[in-house]
Structures are given as C-alpha cells and as structure tokens.
Symmetry: C2
Subunit: 538 residues, 2 copies
C-alpha cells in the first residue's frame, strides 16, 4: 500500500482518464461554456445533446410512472437506458457526480431485457423493476468495477461479486449504469476525495452538494437518475437530499440489504449501523423501492437482513404529528424556520391531521455518544490510507478522538437503551404517528462548512426511519436575522451566523424531515405521503 499512497495523484489521474473514456465522444458537452454558471439545472435540456424523446423520458416521470411506460412498451428499455446514460453523462460533466461508469454494459443489458419482454406473453410475468435505470453510491459493489470509495488504495481492484442489494436490483429487473461520488471517509457533508475530486451542487456551485451520498444528490437533481441508492449512518442519504432538494429515505437498519457495502468503519464494528435506502424525485418512489425490496425475500441475498414484510397497512385514525421546531442544540436558520412554519400551517388546516408540539429530550448528551459510536476504534479509521485529508473531514473534528474500550462500548449501549426507552415514551405519551422537524439546522451551506448535527444522526442512534421531503427553496424574503435568535449558546451562534441571506444561498432547497418509529417504515412512508400531498399540493 505504501507505494500506492505516494502515488495517489498518479492513480487519480489515470482513474479520471479512464472515466473520461467511458463517456462517448458524441456525448461530450462544451463544459467551458458552463463553467461560470452557478446554477446548471437547465443545461441538460438546453445543451442540445438530448433529443425530444430523451428529454421527455428523463424529465417527465418519476420511477413509478416510468415503470408503467416501460411495461406498456411506450418506450423500450434500450431507449430509456440510453436516455438516462446520456443525461447522467451531462450531469457528470457539469457536477463531477459519477465514479464508475458502465453505460455500455447497461445498454447491452437493456437490449437483453427488451428481447426477454418480446418472448414473454403476459405483462405481469415481468420483474417489478423491469427496465428501470438505478444508480448506486460508489460504496456498493458491482461486479467487474472498482469499489474505491475515492481512496487510491482501492483503485483497480474490480469487485468479484455484486453487493447484496446490487444483485437483488438486477434480479428485480433494474438496469445499473453508474456509481456516484462520495467524500473521503464517507462521513462528511461535502462529497470530495483525492481520486475523483469534488461533486458540485447543480443548483448553486458555491454551496455544498452534501454528503456522503452527494454524487447521487447531484445526479438525481439533474435527472441523470430518478432513483438512486445511498447509505446513511449519520445522515448520508438525508443531507444530500436536503442540499439537492430531492426525496431521501433512511430505512430502519437491515430492512434493505446492506451486505457487501464498503464502509470505512472497521469490519465487525457494532453500535450505530449504516443503512441502505433510496433517493428519488417523488415520495411514492421511496415507497416503491422499499415495497419491492421487502416483497422480494431479502434474506436470500443477505445474511444480515431483517425480514419485515410489507403488509399494505391502512391508517386507522387521524394522523397525529409531533412537531419539533429544533433539536435543542442548534437553532434552524431563518429559511428553514420559515418553511417548517409554512408546512405546519398547511397541515394544521387539514381535518385529517392533528399537530402536537414536542421537544426532543437530551439531544446534546446523545450527540456526545453518537460521536463516540462513530469513533469506537479511534479516529485513524477515517484517514488511515495516508492520503491528504480533505478539508471537510478536517473540519468535522472526528480526527482527534481516542476510541474506547469494550466496557466503554457497553456503557454506550446502556445509555442508548435508556434513550430508546425515553423516545418510545415520547411516541406513546403523545400518541404520535410520526415526528415532523427540520432535517438540519440549515440548507446547503458554503463548501466545507457543513456541521454534523444531531438532526439526522439522532435517528441513526435510535434506528428510527426518517425521510426528507423538499418543500421550498431560499427566497428573497429570507433575510439573515439577529444572532440573538440563536437560542443555544456560542456553538449555535457560530452555525447560525453562517446564514448570510438569500443572495449567497440563492436556489438552496429547503426540506422537512418526517421520522417514524423503529421498524414502522411502511407506516412512516404512508404518513409522509399524506403530509407531502398536503404540503406540496400548491
């Protein structure tokens, strides 16, 4: 490994040249022309690469609707695959969002699926994800391609097997066509590493794209994908969903197979566990994803799966929504507060909804334990390759934590069990179905300034499923306000001061987060669908 460390620049250059070669010459766009654009959201449709059909295929549908078109043979799998490969190529040239590119394989598979369709007489013999292009975070193994996670030491080591979820998606009829960028360490809010470089936020290149599943965030925002899969151990699906204004769902651990995913935590680590989940352009696509997976015998693919069946539950009563304005540690910035208030006002007007104000207990002390769980083996785990540390990893302060002992680990578990009791009591005493709160104290922030907060990681700690729903974007009315509005002390003030007003934060999406009880993922998705339909109907 020593020589590889020295040569990470050489490795990176070679890897990026290979990457460039994977994009057909005819799909290249004049990137120089767009270099100065802060917001590149329009370019996929204006750059001239997509024909009308490709524009429609990639623009007009969510995955649920596209699957209907595929089944009805409005378009062939090949047409759909080529369209998304092209649009992903555009997205990559604009934001540097891809890592492994396998358009050729995807198009070949698409042709095979088309042939298979012709041979099958009945529509319902088709697999549930027939012909749907799905993108994956780089940490999923795809046979024949690297799982480098942006580290030189893992480059040029093609996977021999598919990770459990990749294998499953293929068996379910999906078409895999690319993997997406992430931060060195897979632990920060900026998707930046020494091999692939930084992924940019397509709505505002001066703000972070989010992390760790940031490549997916940019790719889906630009509709180079409409369904991607990330992982989330502290917010890694939800943070880039916030930064890119898309839907992102963190399921309870092990409902979606996580086997064969490359994490940077030492093998065998327990405590807070990473979970696999979808990022999408609609809420119903998050449901489609979970339902399809849960109905497909996850246990056969992954010995760590929990087989909770999908039961098509119906809500028996008025939805009771516990609303938490903040986590008691960081005050949400003015646009985040405004959008939450707007959402709650809409819900309050609805007869099927009851709003219950709640406070999240003891988040500050839980957050201490969350950090301890993330650094059980000490900080070395995050920078162990010897490559230079990316700025956002330096900034989050996980590099000087000493690790713990077995007894220390057990002590953490005891406190976590107590927290779990307390939060169960919060759910039961208030008889709430879900919690509604901001997914972060801020929107996307300037590069390398994302502060890890408990807004997302609290739910990893408790293993509660949580979903991010885009509801608005920063508007001219969202002026920066007095620092005295930061209620929780100097650290809070520091983060609060990061919001300077609508100019710097132009086009930054604003999202809400809906949190369900552990293993009640289906119930969460149902409740979230109701909220989404009310809040986003206007």
């Amino acid at each position: 490994m020593a020589s590889k460390i020295k040569n990470y620049k050489v490795i990176a250059a070679a890897k990026r040249a290979q990457q460039q070669d994977k994009i057909p010459k005819s799909w290249r766009i004049p990137t120089d022309r767009f270099r100065d654009a802060t917001n590149v959201m329009d370019i996929p449709l204006t750059c001239g690469l997509l024909d009308e059909t490709e524009s429609r295929i990639t623009s007009d549908y969510d995955a649920t609707a596209l699957l209907e078109k595929l089944r009805a043979r409005v378009w062939s799998v090949e047409q759909v695959t080529v369209a998304f490969c092209k649009r992903a190529a555009i997205a990559h040239q604009l934001t540097n969002c891809l890592t492994e590119i396998f358009f050729d394989d995807a198009i070949e598979r698409a042709k095979k699926l088309d042939l298979e369709y012709d041979q099958k007489s009945r529509e319902n013999a088709l697999p549930p994800l027939f012909g749907l292009p799905i993108s994956l975070k780089d940490s999923y193994q795809v046979s024949g391609y690297d799982t480098s996670t942006g580290l030189g030491c893992y480059v040029d080591q093609p996977a021999e097997d598919n990770s459990a979820l990749a294998a499953m998606l293929i068996d379910l009829g999906a078409v895999l066509y690319s993997k997406t960028n992430l931060p060195q360490s897979i632990m920060t809010g900026d998707s930046d590493n020494n091999i692939f470089g930084r992924t940019l936020n397509p709505r505002n290149k001066l703000l972070t794209v989010g992390g760790s599943t940031g490549g997916e965030g940019a790719l889906i925002a630009l509709r180079g994908s409409i369904l991607g899969v990330g992982t989330d151990i502290g917010g890694s699906i939800r943070v880039p969903s916030v930064c890119n204004g898309i839907y992102g769902f963190r399921p309870s651990v092990d409902l979606v197979p996580h086997g064969g995913v490359r994490d940077l935590t030492p093998p065998g680590t327990d405590g807070i566990r990473s979970t696999a989940g979808p990022m999408a352009t609609s809420l119903r696509d998050c449901s489609l994803f979970l339902k399809t997976i849960l109905q497909a015998d996850t246990w056969k693919y992954d010995s760590t799966s929990i087989s909770v069946p999908w039961t098509n539950i119906k809500p028996a009563h008025k939805l009771r929504i516990g609303v938490a304005q903040n986590d008691g540690v960081y005050t949400p910035s003015p646009p985040v507060r405004r959008a939450l208030k707007q959402a709650v006002d809409l819900l309050r007007d609805n007869d099927d909804i009851q709003i219950i104000p709640i406070n999240l207990p003891d988040v500050k002390s839980h957050y201490q334990d969350i950090i301890s769980y993330f650094t059980l083996s000490g900080s070395d785990q995050f920078a162990r390759t010897g490559e230079p540390v990316i700025p956002s990893l330096e900034a989050i302060g996980l590099l000087s934590v000493p690790g713990t002992t077995l007894q220390g680990f057990f002590d953490l578990n005891v406190r976590r069990a107590e927290a779990a009791k307390k939060y169960l009591k919060l759910f039961r005493d208030n008889e709430i179905d879900v919690i509604l709160m901001p997914p972060a104290p801020n929107t996307a922030v300037p590069l390398d300034c994302w502060t890890r907060a408990a807004y997302t990681s609290l739910w990893n700690y408790l293993d509660y499923p949580a979903i991010v729903i885009p509801v608005d974007h920063v508007r001219d009315i969202d002026s920066a306000d007095d620092l005295r509005n930061a209620q929780f002390g100097p650290e809070d003030e520091k983060l609060y001061s990061l919001y300077t007003g609508p100019e710097q934060y132009k086009d930054a999406p604003i999202c809400i987060q809906v949190v369900g009880y552990r293993h009640k993922d289906e119930a969460l998705l149902r409740a979230a669908a109701v909220l989404d339909s009310i809040i986003n109907s206007i």
Copy 2:
C-alpha cells in the same frame, strides 16, 4: 453487599420460609411419603389434593384447548386459576421448582376477570389469553416480587415494574401466578442455586432437570403449568425441554419482548443475545404464544423489540428437511440416535416431505467463538456475588476465561458474519425449509454432568429460531454401546461414556430439534407442526 454475601445462608433460610408460607396449609402434601420415589409424575393426581374438576382442568388440555373452555365458560377463570395454583404447589413440593409464589394475587385477578367477562356481552371482546395461567422464569420482573435469580444480593428487592413481557401478558388477559427456578449464573444445565436450592427432574430425580429454565421444565412436566416463559442464550429454553420431555421454542432475538429481564451478563453487552420464548405441552401452544405476542404491538412495550408481523403464511411446496445427524463435535448417545432415526424414517415415508442429509459446517470453531461471546467481560460476571459456586457452574469451565477487548469483540463479529453467510448458503444450496437434528448429544444426564454443546448454542450464535419436540423416552432396547462409536476424539468419548444404559436413564425423555432460518419463526412453527403431526401421530 458484603454483609449480604456473608449471610446468604440466613437470607436463603428466610426466603424459603416465606416461600413455604405462600402455600396454604390445606395444599400441603406429605412429601416424606414421596421422598424415595425416583419418578413423581403420577403424584399430582394420586396425592388426593385435586378434586375431579381440578384434575381435569389441569390434565386434559393444552393452552389452546383450555382457552376455548375459558371463553365458553365451561370453567370460570377462578376455577382454572385455583386448579393450576394447587397443582403448581404440588409440583413445587415434589421438585422445588418455584421461586416467587403469588397464588393470592392470581386468584384475586381471576375473580376480577370473571366479573369483567360477565360485564362484556360478546365473546370476541375478550383479550386473546383471557384467563390463561402462565408461569414465568424467575428472571422476569413481576411488580411487587423479587427478581432474585437465586442470588442473595437481590433478595428482598421487590420489582417496581413488570418486565415488558409480563406487562404484555397481563394486558393480553393472562393470569400470572408463580415464577420458577434457575441456576446461579443462569448459564448451566442444572437449575440449582444457593437461595432456592436445586429443582429436581420429576421423571427421574437422579437426572438433571436441565437449565437454565429448569423450574419451568419440572412445573410443566407435572402440569403445574401448561404454558411457561423462559429465556435462551445458549439453550436455556431447549435444554430443560429436552430433560422434561416438553415443547420449548427459542424465537429469533427480540421478536418476543425481552426488556426488563434480569440477565447476569453485564448491562450493555452485545454479541449473542438472550431471547424470550415459550415452553408448553403442545406445539400449537408455542404458535399460539408467538402469534398472540406478534399481533399485539410489541413495540409499545419494549424499545428493543423487532416488529415482525404474524402473516398466517401458507407453505407453497413440499417441505424440504435438512437432517443433521450430529454437530461434528459430539456423537449423540444411542437413545438419541435411535429416536432421530425413528423420526426420520417416519418422515421419509411421507409424500409431503423431502429429506436432505446435511452436515453442519465448522461447528467446533464456531463453538470457541460462542464461548468467547459468553465471556466477553471475563468470567467474573458469573460468580461475582461472592456466594459459593454451584457444582454445575464450576463444571462448565466458564470460570477461567479472561474476557476480550473491543477489537477482539469486533473480530468475533467478523467471524460471526462469515458464519452467517455460510449457513445461509447451506439453507439456499440445499433449498431446505428447516433443519432437523438432535437438540443435544444426550438426554437428561446425572446431576451436574450436563456439558454445554453447540447443538443448541449454534442457533443462538446465528440467531436462528429453534424448537424442541419430545418424541420418545429411553427404552430397554437402548443399551450403551462401544465407545468406539464416539467419532470425534477424546472429549466426545468422555461425553459418550456418560450414557450407561437404560437403567440409569429410566424415563428420560428424548427430543428432536427443528431449526428455521432467522426471523422465519412463523415458517419454522408451521414446518415443525407438520413434522410433529407425523412423528407423534402414532
């Protein structure tokens, strides 16, 4: 605690005197008369304490059938409760199987339930376990009573709350009336401790009653209970089921609420986890138990629960049974081999069953890791109160293990994950629904001779659900045979030599074990019901 340790004998004497007082004078039987009987199974019906109705109530039904009678008001809850309290009192006087006795409370509750029934018009408004007496292992907390687990340091500390499962059973309509004995450390195959003493095997007092849920084993064998709840971290439900010839089911971890149970592992310990499950006189009662629990919102009672719903699955195909003759470490004794062969022969004749011979891979090395998991914090955990160590705890060799580090724990987890993949492959490659094998290499053995083997604990290690089904008992034809039949070396020979022939092992039950895949508990129970109906139909 120091003075308590010194005085454990005083504490024990006081505790047992209190216990004696809890048995009404009119329910006492002339125990002297039965002292020399090796098998006391007939005595509950011959001692004259139970009237004809009480004899019928306690003898003629399993829990499923008794619930029907209770609902139909053939008998009142009070009648049923008194009958079981009386028979439990007899069982206790014969085998020393109870710890906490709360007959008074139970009868009072029974009267209340009878009143409630009278006030409710429709039968189906009754809770699912309406009026059913259920006994609990001592480690479950029942409000107002000790959870001493046979240790002086915990005596006279009545619980303030019910454990999650106790609370749930009460809400479901059950009547709790006593708790049952277990070994010091809750880790051995002899239910013996310094406070309550040893529970005897009612079929043969010279053989162990099994452990750790041995009190339940004796109580249910004598029908002082027809449904009890134990815990199982290495075989603690299944071993006493084997020794007493009853049904015992170890569900996957956390399907049945385990919160508020006193274990002797240090709080926060992870790794192999204890699970709660039923012991019963029929297989369908094990299903009744799991179904009732899973349908009753376990999450509301216990923040550690996994909410896998009961789905009334139907098997889609011929059952494929993988048969393992042994674990590759210990050779089953002649009667155990004979009974397994008998069972397999019966199954082979059945058109709905396919038998697939399998070998369990690498059990010996997994067993090393199982021991390491049991002693993560070192051996002190098992004898930390300073009381004298019971012989069976001394014998199992867990008292000289040094414990491990956090890295050692992670390494164990890595190997366990590999084992899980290997055993998933065993299930998938052979397309088996369940594994059929002996639950132990032996039947009940002489006192303090039970050797922990991987036959049960392998399934705790992998978290596979497993059920013990009684199929026969030692017969005259079961001669001891040549030690050369012990195939796996000196340790195996040593255990094999323990079987001396039918005389010493008179009336010892023989059981089989059926093992399902993780979280497929409902499927296991369905398959086991088919096997049970074939094997036990004659």
